[in-house]
Amino acid sequence: MSKRSVDAVFQGLYLLTDIRGMLRDTVPHHHLSVEQKKEAEKILGKLEKQVAILKEELLA
């Protein structure tokens, strides 16, 4: 089994949920503060890593 890909799917879902939470916090204009932007950058960076793991695990 590929526990690594399962973990990556959940991590990915959770990271996107964090972005979703950020969008909710900033309705209606979604103006992110400098800090929020930093946070979003970090989250999206991590998300890219999970996508890379999934490619590695599933497409190999």
Partner: protein, 393 residues
């Protein structure tokens, strides 16, 4: 974008400030969203269910601990999860009210409280409100006396709302309970608009039963809720089954009759539980929320002809306005008619007020930030001024 055939993706809370009277306190935390996606499957919390096979005994996920924490959070002795506050009312009424028994409710009791009485075949009697839309101890005492006399029975149960759904007013629960207890009437305090939003202390209130709503005020999916009680009443409302299979001799362990056994076996209980640490923190920050709603109401009141029908200054975020003499005068000639107001709000990214309302309408600003409060306040004034209404700011 669909999530299933013909089901549009819901994005209200991602796109708008949502002032819906019943939705504001039930919006999920991000932790709850994560829990919901991990525990969506039916019976998802039952993986590690062992003897005695009951939801509140499951330790992984930590439902047993959550049940204990909930009771202590409410300062009550025992708590159970229920599929919505209404199922808490139903359980208590079913356990306490016999056919023909008089039951006291208030002029602002929710329809589900009435339904629970109807289902138990009790007789409903309302305690009136005073001119300020508050249920008073004197009113309660007078009604108890009257109902006891006319029916020849002491009421079997009294329902009171800590904050009611019509005005969002706070009622003197502790004093109301004292009155009821003088007549030995047990009291169910309906905390659907308070538990999970405000600090609620059951023992301090003197409540025999406290009922909260997960989807209304505890940032949880529907249907969910909590029924908490005292050790004394737990024996009645959480009594375990005594029925037996007459041929097989089967008995059914510690399952509780009024709970119908286990209640929330998946996404609902885990959603509530994931939000709970946040809920415990947010009840301590309710004062800020009250400031924000007052800022919005104050802005609305600068619009000539506007009245607030809820108690003012506001003590709760659920608020009832009357704009018959302000926004409704615009509606009479506006090409969008009564829809101009909610449509103008929507253009500004504000949703949740019943579409078409310009006379009496409610909003609930729970969960907004200080900036959002200012933005909402400013938006109302902007709309009013644009439509030529006089504003006194």
């Amino acid at each position: 974008m669909n999530c299933g055939e013909g089901i549009d993706t819901r994005q209200i809370d991602e796109l708008f400030i949502n002032l819906d009277p019943i939705q504001a306190g039930g919006r999920l935390t991000t932790d709850a969203m994560k829990a919901v996606l991990a525990y969506g499957d039916g019976y998802s919390v039952c993986d590690h269910c062992t003897k005695p096979f009951r939801l509140d005994h499951i330790s992984k996920p930590p439902l047993a601990e959550f049940h204990r924490d909930l009771a202590s959070f409410l300062n009550m002795d025992v708590a159970r999860l229920v599929p919505g506050a209404r199922r808490g009312f139903q359980a208590v009424a079913s356990a306490l009210v016999k056919p023909g028994d008089p039951v006291l409710l208030t002029a602002y009791s929710h329809y589900t409280e009435f339904l629970s009485v109807e289902q138990s075949r009790g007789m409903a009697f309302e305690i009136p409100a005073n001119d300020s839309h508050i249920i008073t101890p004197d009113g309660a005492a007078a009604r108890i006396e009257e109902v006891s006399k006319t029916t020849g029975k002491t009421p079997a149960l009294m329902f009171i709302e800590q904050v009611d759904y019509q005005y969002g007013n706070q009622h003197p629960v502790s004093d109301l309970i004292k009155v009821a207890h003088q007549y030995d009437i047990p009291v169910l305090c309906n905390g659907a608009y308070t538990i999970g939003i405000m600090d609620v202390n059951g023992k301090e209130l003197g409540a025999d039963f406290l009922v909260g709503s997960g989807h209304k005020s505890m940032a949880a999916p529907a249907p969910s809720g909590v029924l908490a009680t005292t050790s004394e009443w737990a024996e009645t409302v959480f009594r375990t089954t005594g029925i037996k299979g007459d041929l097989t001799g089967r008995t059914f362990g510690v399952k509780e009759v009024e709970m119908m056994g286990c209640t929330l076996m998946g996404v609902t209980s885990v959603g509530m539980m994931a939000s709970f640490p946040h809920v415990k923190r947010r009840v301590k920050e309710f004062d800020a929320q009250v400031q924000y709603v007052n800022r919005i109401v104050d802005a609305l009141l600068t619009i000539e002809g506007t009245k607030v029908q809820s108690e003012y200054p506001r003590k709760h975020t659920l608020t009832r306005m009357n704009t018959t003499d302000s926004f409704d005068t615009v509606a009479r000639t506006h090409k969008k008619k009564g829809f101009f107001l909610t449509s103008a709000l929507r253009e500004r990214g504000i949703a949740g007020i019943l579409a078409g309302s310009t006379r009496v309408w409610k909003f609930n600003s729970y969960g907004i930030t200080s900036e959002q409060a200012d933005y909402i306040a400013e938006s109302f004034i902007e709309i009013a001024e644009k439509e030529g209404l006089a504003c006194s700011r």
